[in-house]
């Protein structure tokens, strides 16, 4: 148990040595001067936003169309039942 705890301590200490936090940023840095790894591309976010609007609108139209189809199907079934009864 003691060996296991020691191993964990050594592991954490080693990890901590290699995973030191970057030095703090002391002043304002314009976004254009950020390294490429820190920059977030705008185009994918823009495309996803437009796509989401289209997907939501199309999904809603599809849901109306599906519900309308179900109501019409139920009406036809009801009319068929009624006509069978009257015979």
């Amino acid at each position: 148990m003691g060996k296991f705890a020691t191993l964990i301590c050594v592991y954490l200490f080693t990890v901590d040595l290699f995973a030191q936090a970057p030095p703090g940023q002391g002043q304002f840095l314009p976004v254009e001067q950020l390294p490429p790894t820190e920059q977030l591309p705008a185009a994918p976010l823009l495309i996803v936003a437009y796509a989401i609007v289209w997907v939501i609108a199309m999904a809603y139209i599809w849901s109306i169309w599906r519900r309308l189809g179900k109501v019409e199907h139920d009406m036809r079934q009801l009319e068929k039942r009624q006509s069978q009864r009257t015979r």
Partner: protein
Amino acid sequence: MRKVFVPLLVLAAVMFAYAPVMVANAPYESTMLLIQKIFYFHVPSWIGMYSALLVCGVASALYLFRGDVRADRIAVSAGEIAAVFGLMGLTTGPLWGRKAWGVWWQWDARLTTALLLELILVGYLLVRKYGGPGAEKLSAGLALFGMVDSIFVYKSVDWWRTIHPQTSVVLTLGRYSPAMLSALAFCGLAFVLLFLILLSLRVGLAEQEAALNELYLAEED
């Protein structure tokens, strides 16, 4: 409404096809650059939501105080569409915010009240679906509450300090950038047309459902 449905549909299709051209030609905002172009779909989503909520609230009031059944069908249709437009606004906003603010979400006054309004709309639809007998009147009251709440959502950016831009950004856009305003007005009109088309389709569905229920009741008798 049925007579103008096809011309409206054609006009909306043309406008939505041309909207990306308007958006691409609109000038870049100086600090946010490309990501600011989400504005041309994000703000119109909320214009659609507010239009739908206004129709839902007025129709609910007509149903509550005059017992107009057709107004109730319009209210439930507009309420559903308001929730759909609200969902568009709540998903496009964080995509913009991630780039502009560095975070997907912030619990500030505008974002929180907008989320609460969407939850009220979802609550309205849940009451309609699972509320049982008398749910129409209960949900009509909820719709009135939602309509009044929308004023707080809209004005929240002016009344409280928030990360979200103030309403004056849109109101004074014509003074600073007429090209941006024309692109926004074009997209806003396209979304209002989309709202009218969806409302027409959804009211048609509500009428068919009412006719089916009457047929079922007649069969039981």
